[in-house]
Each structure stands twice: as structure tokens, then as C-alpha cells.
């Protein structure tokens, strides 16, 4: 190996001291692992992308032929129904990716693809359930918003309120699902206990959960909704950087767990992956 050697030992003091510093550290030192995890996630997202493109095409044809609102709604309904198992498949992938991001966030080192599939093997059940929950919440938000926009346009206040509520539930469920995945990769609690914790964290950390939800998956969903060109940009972003979004969620979740779980029950996990200052 021709790398120039450092004269001084690498000191643990050089490790990041905050989660933000850890995020940047991982961004620079683990980009290969993150991108390969994103590509793997993209494979699991293929059914969902296919569903989107098939039904967008059908929707465009319907609009071009001057189809009724009911027809469009029913098309989106079927598309969303088919998307449900697609979300479950996507979350299978996310359960594997959560193992990778957990290890990265603890600076434990990963085996890349092998760690991904190790996580998938370990957490596939909760992955499927989480996917189902997410799919239902997404479907409810999408169909609810579409219904209000198509059929209740005359009542703007009611429509605005309804859309707000539907998006709020989606943000709560999105946060809950991320807390579910990260807990499943970390603790050995029952699914019920994990769900309860996730539900609590999704509510008590709402402001920051909202910010992270805008980033992941908010940005990609928005790109999909704007038009077909931006949807390609959304796909590109997802294919290359989905693991980065998951990493942000994992790092934030770890900070939440340190405060609310680890400090009391798992002190050995407190600040894992961070350099602890003496004293």
C-alpha cells in the first residue's frame, strides 16, 4: 500500500463529538457505503416506481381523453392500492438499510451489501408491517387530498383543513416508521413496545420530525407530484441518495434515544459513535 503514513496514531479524540459532526464525517468517509446502500434501496423501490409510471401514464391518457373526475380518482385509488405491497417491498429494503445506517452511526464499520442483507434477514417482519402502515398512511393522504381537491373545491377552508390534517397524519406516520425501523435495528423489544415508543417520539419531537420529513421523503414526493420531468429528478435523487436521508433520521433518532431510553436503560449505548470528552 502506497498511502503516506501518518507519524502520529489516529486518536479517538479525532472522532466527531456531535451528531452533526458525525454526519459530515460519514458523508466524507463512508460515501461509498452510503451510495451502494442507496442503490440497493433503489432496487427495492422498483415496484413502487413502476406502479407510479404505469398509473401516471394511464392518468395522462385519461386526462387527454377528457375523462371524468371520478375516473381519475378511481384510477389513483387502484394505483394506491397496488402501491401498498410495493411499499412493503420498499420497507423490506429499508429494514436492511437501517442496519447499515445504525452501524455507520455507531462508527462500527459495515460489510456493505452483506450488512444490508443481514439487517434485512433480522428485521424483515417489522419491515413488512412498517411498510404496510406507511402505505396505508400514504394512500390515505394521497386519496384524501385528491378527493378534497377534486370534489370539495367549493369549500376552500374545509379543503385546506382536511389537506393539513391528512399531511399531518402522514408526517406523524412517516416519523413513526423511521423510529420503528431504527429501534428494530437497535433494541430487542417486542413490536408492540417498539410501536408505542415510536408513536410517542413521533409526537413529542414533532418540530424536528417535520423538518426531517420535508427532507426525506418530502423532497422526493414533491418532485414526483410536480410533473413528469421533476419525477425523473426525484428518482435520480432517490437512487443515489436515499441512504443519506435514512442516515439523517438514524442519527437524529439516536440522539432521541440517548435522551429518552439509553440514559436510563442502556447506558452503554449513550453517545455511541461519538468521542466522549473526559470529565
Amino acid at each position: 500500500m502506497k498511502n503516506k503514513e501518518r507519524l502520529e496514531d489516529f486518536s479517538p479524540k479525532e472522532l466527531p463529538e456531535t451528531r452533526w459532526a458525525l454526519f459530515w464525517d460519514l458523508l466524507f468517509h463512508q460515501s461509498g457505503t452510503l451510495i451502494s446502500t442507496s442503490l440497493l434501496l433503489a432496487l427495492f423501490a422498483l415496484p413502487l416506481f413502476s406502479d407510479y409510471f404505469v398509473f401516471s401514464f394511464l392518468g395522462s391518457s385519461l386526462q387527454a381523453s377528457g375523462g371524468a373526475k371520478e375516473g381519475l380518482f378511481s384510477l389513483v385509488f387502484y394505483g394506491t392500492a397496488i402501491a401498498l405491497p410495493c411499499f412493503m417491498v420498499l420497507f423490506l429494503g429499508l429494514s436492511g438499510a437501517s442496519e447499515v445506517t445504525k452501524r455507520l452511526s455507531f462508527l462500527e464499520g459495515t460489510l456493505g451489501v452483506a450488512s444490508f442483507f443481514e439487517g434485512l434477514k433480522k428485521n424483515w417482519r417489522s419491515g413488512l408491517l412498517t411498510g404496510l402502515l406507511y402505505g396505508l398512511s400514504f394512500g390515505l393522504a394521497l386519496l384524501g387530498c385528491l378527493y378534497l381537491l377534486l370534489f370539495q373545491g367549493a369549500l376552500p377552508v374545509l379543503t385546506g383543513l382536511g389537506i393539513g390534517l391528512l399531511l399531518f397524519q402522514f408526517i406523524i406516520v412517516n416519523s413513526l416508521c423511521h423510529y420503528l425501523l431504527s429501534q428494530e435495528a437497535l433494541y430487542l423489544n417486542s413490536f408492540g413496545a417498539t410501536l408505542k415508543n415510536a408513536f410517542i417520539f413521533a409526537h413529542i419531537k414533532l418540530p424536528l420530525n417535520f423538518v426531517w420529513s420535508l427532507l426525506s421523503p418530502g423532497l422526493v414526493i414533491a418532485l414526483f407530484l410536480i410533473n413528469s420531468v421533476t419525477s425523473y429528478v426525484g428518482i435520480g435523487l432517490y437512487v443515489l441518495f436515499s441512504a443519506y436521508g435514512l442516515l439523517v433520521w438514524t442519527l437524529y433518532a439516536n440522539a432521541v434515544y440517548d435522551r429518552h431510553i439509553n440514559a436510563t436503560y442502556y447506558p452503554e449505548l449513550m453517545g455511541k459513535g461519538l468521542h466522549k470528552k473526559e470529565g
Partner: protein, 450 residues
């Protein structure tokens, strides 16, 4: 169990270059054995033959009881650590350590357990997510060791692993490798050209030169009883002083006359005199050897002049020249005394620590012999020496060259040799019993007396 046995192993490269000659060694289970010698002595080649990275030209190599001459390197259950670490720069420390196990398609959970365990042993847990470029040489070498540890091999092969490190780090890593050997309780075969590493780390040391084993023994026995001039001068810093001398008898005493000058006469103590291999050396020129720490600067002795003084903190190295002679003599003294260049001093060698070497063969002729030599008479069926007669076993007679075996009714004078290790002081079934009286006993520093 992880014994390694090399039986008459040779390595001859194309063009006839002999890198290793008749390498015969049994390495015990859990032993830390060090191959040491100058560049080109064949130590790395031998290690690479054990690893399966070089083919064996002749001889047999056993790991445990299995002949592995033709077994692939990957199937020998050995792990090798190289001088240049051989880490993958694009992989993290974790991935580097796990790489071998991943190739063997081990379960990821098991890989993870082993990597973390090895990282803890080597105290590199904090480095797992880093890439080699972020690490110092010592840390990189620890990663290389980690990669070997996780494989849980029968035998560890280490090829000059500390050569790329600076002096301070070498000392630190030396003790870490020794601790690691104790903790893992596995056979370690370590190659180095650094005699300090060899002396401090090995349970036994194999000293090599030009492809031949010169001596195999514990570090202290090698130091105190070198088998030949090469071993004597290779081990020890500063190296042993070698001065030409003539052996003489002065009444009952045995004396060494340095450079043949009668005034430079040194008398051996009684026990040392008994250790002289043969009286044939009396009146002949031999090499007289004495280590720097075995020469005292006294009020009387061999007159000399100080040439150079090196102060090393806890000790002083004095380079002197014997008066009227060209021999440089190095003396190691404890700190406390002051010497200046051109000071006249008197050298008093501790003769109980002196060595003598044959001028031609360079073998030691005083000390613990490697072989018992005796003049004997060989006839077609037996060999006789003193009052003893040993019948030659049939298979032994078949192995003798035709011209070596006398014809019927004929006898031939020979020099009979028994290796010291092949002679037991206890009565053993199936062995020849030769009656004898104990003449004297020498206590070796770190093993049984002889």
C-alpha cells in the same frame, strides 16, 4: 494442536540458486519461534514455503500430522502478516479485517463478532470506520494483525511485521505481539533481521545464513553458547570481540596467546579448560571471542588505549586498541566511570565467559557442543570407540555409501558424532547404553543442565 515440522526442506530456484538448504526443524504447539539472519539467508523464503506462497523443491512440510507440500495456501489454516501490511486502501479497517472471512462466505453476524473481538484485543475499536490512510504505521500493522487473528488460524506467520515502524513504535509493538501470542496461545513463526526482536520475542530462535540453519536454541542459550562464529557475532550489540590467538598449555593451565604475543597471555579457568572440544587445537591458531560486557577495565590486564567513548545513558561503550596491536576491542561498562580518548587502560576479560572458534570451520570449540565427537573404528557390521562397540542396524548400513563401508575383515578410522539432543542421561528402551562417568556439569541459563 498446531505443530509445524519441516523435514530436510530445500528451495532451489530456476538457474540453480539455492535459497534454503536442508531445513530441518520441529516447531512445537503454541511456540513462538523466530527466524533471524541477514538479508538473503532464506528466512522469508522458508516462511513463504510454510505459507504455501513458494513451492518446496525437496523435503516435507507437515502442519500437525498432515503433509501439506501440495496443499493450497488457503487450505493450510495459516494466516500471514506482511511487512508492508497489505491493507486495501479503499476499505475501512472493519472491511479490511473482515475481508478474508467474507471471502469464505462466513455468516455476517459471526464476522461481526470476530472483527469486534479482534479489534478489542488489538485496541483498535475506535478505528473500525476509518480507512488505512488515516492511520499510523503501528495502527496499520495492528489492522494487519487483526486480519490474521479473525481467521483463528492454527499458525501465525509474521514476515518482518515491524520493519516499517519507527524505533519507538517497534518497541511498543514488540511487546504487544508477545502479549498477543500469550493471549491467543497459538503457534507463531516470526521472521526478522533484527536480533533485538528475535532475542526479546522468541521462545526459540533459528539463526540462518546462506540458506542453512546455523543454530536453533532459546535466546539466552544462543547468546551464551553460540555454535559458531557467525551466531556469536550476529547476536549481541556491540558484537562479540574476535581476536586471533594460539592455544597453549602452561603446566596444567590452558592459555590463549593473543596474536601469538607471549605477553598477551590469558588463562582459562578449570571448568572452561574441560570444555575444549579436543586437544588437537593445542599449539594451533584459533579465534578467541569475548563479549563487550565480559571485559572489565581493571588496574592490571591487557594494556590498551581508549580510542572512542560512547555514552548511552545507563552504560558506556569504550572502543580501545590493545597496545602495539591492531585489534579493536569494544568494552561495555556501567555508567559511573569516566574515560577519555587516549587514556591508558588495562583489560581484564572474564575468561569463564570466553569462547573459542575453529579457524577453518568457524565452529565453537569451547562451550556446550552441538555434537559429541569421538574417534572410532568402523567395520562392516559395527563401530567401536573406547571400550564400546555398537552394532550397526541393517537400515543404517544400507544408507552408508559403498566406499564408506569397509570390506569384510577390514576396519576404517572415522570420527563418530552424536548430536547432543540424541543422547539421554537416562536409560531408555531401544537405545544403546554407553557407560560413562560425569566429568563436569554446565548449567544453561534457561533450560536443563547438560
Amino acid at each position: 494442536m498446531s505443530q509445524v515440522t519441516l523435514k530436510h526442506v530445500y528451495k532451489v530456484y530456476e538457474g540453480g540458486v539455492r535459497a534454503v538448504n536442508d531445513f530441518d526443524l520441529a516447531i512445537k504447539d503454541k511456540e513462538f519461534i523466530v527466524f533471524v539472519g541477514p538479508s538473503g539467508c532464506g528466512k522469508s523464503t522458508t516462511l513463504r514455503m510454510i505459507a504455501g506462497l513458494e513451492s518446496i523443491t525437496a523435503g516435507e512440510l507437515y502442519i500437525d500430522d498432515a503433509l501439506v507440500n501440495d496443499v493450497d495456501s488457503k487450505d493450510r489454516d495459516i494466516a500471514m502478516v506482511f511487512q508492508n501490511y497489505a491493507l486495501y486502501p479503499h476499505m475501512t479497517v472493519y472491511q479490511n479485517i473482515a475481508f478474508g472471512l467474507k471471502l469464505r462466505k462466513e455468516d455476517p453476524a459471526e464476522i461481526d463478532r470476530r472483527v469486534k473481538e479482534a479489534a478489542e484485543v488489538l485496541e483498535i475499536t475506535d478505528l473500525l470506520s476509518r480507512k488505512p490512510k488515516a492511520l499510523s504505521g503501528g495502527q496499520r500493522q495492528r489492522v494487519a494483525l487483526g486480519r490474521a487473528i479473525v481467521r483463528e488460524p492454527k499458525v501465525f506467520l509474521l514476515d518482518e511485521p515491524l520493519s516499517n515502524l519507527d524505533a519507538k513504535l517497534r518497541v511498543q509493538m514488540r511487546s504487544e505481539i508477545t502479549k498477543l501470542h500469550k493471549r491467543l496461545a497459538t503457534t507463531f513463526i516470526y521472521v526478522t533481521h533484527d536480533q533485538t526482536e528475535a532475542m526479546t520475542m522468541g521462545d526459540r530462535i533459528v539463526v540462518m545464513k546462506l540458506g542453512y540453519i546455523q543454530q536453533v536454541d532459546t535466546p539466552m542459550n544462543l547468546y551464551e553458547n553460540p555454535a559458531n562464529l557467525f551466531v556469536a557475532t550476529f547476536l549481541g550489540s556491540p558484537q562479540m570481540n574476535i581476536i586471533n590467538c594460539r592455544l597453549e598449555k602452561d603446566g596444567n593451565d590452558l592459555c590463549a596467546i593473543l596474536n601469538g604475543i607471549p605477553s598477551l597471555k590469558l588463562t582459562f579457568p578449570e571448568l572452561k579448560k574441560k570444555q575444549l572440544a579436543s586437544e588437537v587445537y593445542l599449539g594451533k591458531e584459533v579465534d578467541f571471542g569475548i563479549r563487550p560486557e565480559h571485559i572489565r577495565i581493571a588496574s592490571e590486564g591487557l594494556p590498551a588505549h581508549v580510542e572512542v567513548v560512547e555514552r548511552l545513558g545507563d552504560e558506556i561503550i569504550v572502543y580501545a586498541k590493545i597496545e602495539g596491536q591492531n585489534n579493536d576491542v569494544v568494552i561495555k561498562e556501567a555508567k559511573g566511570k569516566t574515560y577519555h580518548v587516549k587514556d591508558k587502560i588495562f583489560l581484564a576479560p572474564m575468561m569463564e565467559e570466553a569462547h573459542l572458534f575453529d579457524k577453518t570451520s568457524t565452529d565453537s570449540i569451547m562451550g556446550i557442543p552441538q555434537e559429541n565427537l569421538s574417534e572410532a573404528t568402523l567395520s562392516p557390521t559395527k563401530v567401536a570407540f573406547g571400550e564400546n562397540e555398537l552394532l550397526l542396524p541393517e537400515e543404517y548400513r544400507l544408507r552408508l555409501l559403498k566406499k564408506a563401508l569397509p570390506k569384510a575383515e577390514e576396519e576404517r578410522k572415522i570420527l563418530l558424532s552424536f548430536a547432543v539432543k540424541d543422547v539421554s542421561a537416562e536409560e531408555t528402551k531401544g537405545f544403546y547404553a554407553i557407560p560413562g562417568l560425569i566429568d563436569f556439569i554446565i548449567h544453561r541459563t534457561d533450560s536443563d543442565c547438560l
